[in-house]
Symmetry: C2
Subunit: 215 residues, 2 copies
């Protein structure tokens, strides 16, 4: 039984990875760079998109977005308000986007009118890890209000990520979060991951983060 | 293929529910009331246990706990520091506890020496919903810092829950969270769910919440 489970698991990941590769190829063909945004509910994934879009616009870069959520369109509506092409991707019950959902979302985007695609994953730090979507980089966001042990509780998402963001740094003293612990936990799991500290309420720290994303 | 998937899904839930019923029967036999604590990472699940244990102790009630996490023992160590019997349940990769994991954790607890068992689920608001553990009530915790759209994004966990908690009410003005919206979203999905507002940093609001849990 365990054997069969493993086989099913392998097939699921294998099938997902094949579609992820096709997504990456399609995006590359249209000159679109895609980024997978991962983090818990309320960590600041949508807020990061809100902060980056005007900065990108000032650099002559056009963004699009896929808003992943289990249910509803709260994030989608915030992204639409930015005036960029966006698709709402509800997973229904699933706790992560997969490459197939992203494949369909991409079909609804004007790929020749965007340079960058932000794929906002479903808000949690466990399930999205194993499902590649076809993005170039994974950006992992945590907030000080999640507790300074949040990184230590989720090694996998940091091992597989490319850029780390610690958000809500202004609230760290209020919740007693040690930002240095969070950053050193990231580097324990992924020594090469650059980590940026942001306050997405004010926009502090977004510019160097954006440079790293685009590098 | 979809047919086969559905069958597997049904079997998984059916098997889980049978073990959950057995857990409930075993706990009842030993006079232990169990509560499943659900919420995102950093919502305040462990902090709630920390606040309730001394209040329970003052009422002559002995608590025990199961600390569920994907990885590590950060929450477990906080619970052990309370001086109550506790078991650390790491799921490895899974984003939720299941009845089988809880069954094993219960084997390691001195059931005749506790009156209440708090089962702290893995920190996210999607996966734990479908997996009953054998608890009497489900307590769903959200924090203002998760954004006041957090309830609306997770209807299922509220539909299946018994008691709602909105934590970090002191930070609501700082993050611009409308607590009334959060509470009315809860009642839209589950009109009968009592909702309590807490500041677990200070302990504000815990006493009436505890009354509801024990009622």
């Amino acid at each position: 039984m365990h054997h069969i489970d493993l086989q099913i698991e392998k097939d699921i990941y294998g099938a997902n990875n094949r579609i992820a590769d096709a997504n990456a190829a399609l995006l590359a063909k249209h000159g679109v760079r895609a980024f997978d945004l991962l983090g818990a509910i309320g960590s600041g994934k949508t807020a990061l998109i809100e902060r980056m879009v005007p900065l990108l616009s000032a650099r002559g870069l056009r963004a699009g977005a896929i808003a992943g959520d289990v249910f509803g369109d709260d994030d989608f509506r915030r992204i639409v308000a930015l005036g960029i092409p966006a698709v709402n991707a509800n997973t229904g019950k699933e706790c992560h986007l997969d490459a197939h959902l992203v494949e369909h979302a991409i079909e609804d985007l004007p790929l020749d009118e965007i340079d960058l695609l932000f794929i906002e994953n479903v808000g949690n730090m466990v399930c999205p890890t194993d499902f590649r979507l076809g993005a170039e980089k994974r950006i992992v966001i945590v907030s000080s209000t999640e507790g300074d042990d949040v990184v230590n509780k989720h090694p996998m998402i940091f091992r597989d990520g490319h850029i780390g963001v610690i958000n809500k740094v202004d609230l760290a003293p209020l919740v007693g979060a040690n930002l240095d612990r969070m950053e050193s936990d990231v580097h324990r799991y992924n020594p090469r991951m650059p980590v940026f500290r942001t306050n997405l309420k004010t926009g502090d720290g977004v510019s160097p983060l954006l440079d790293a994303i685009l590098s």
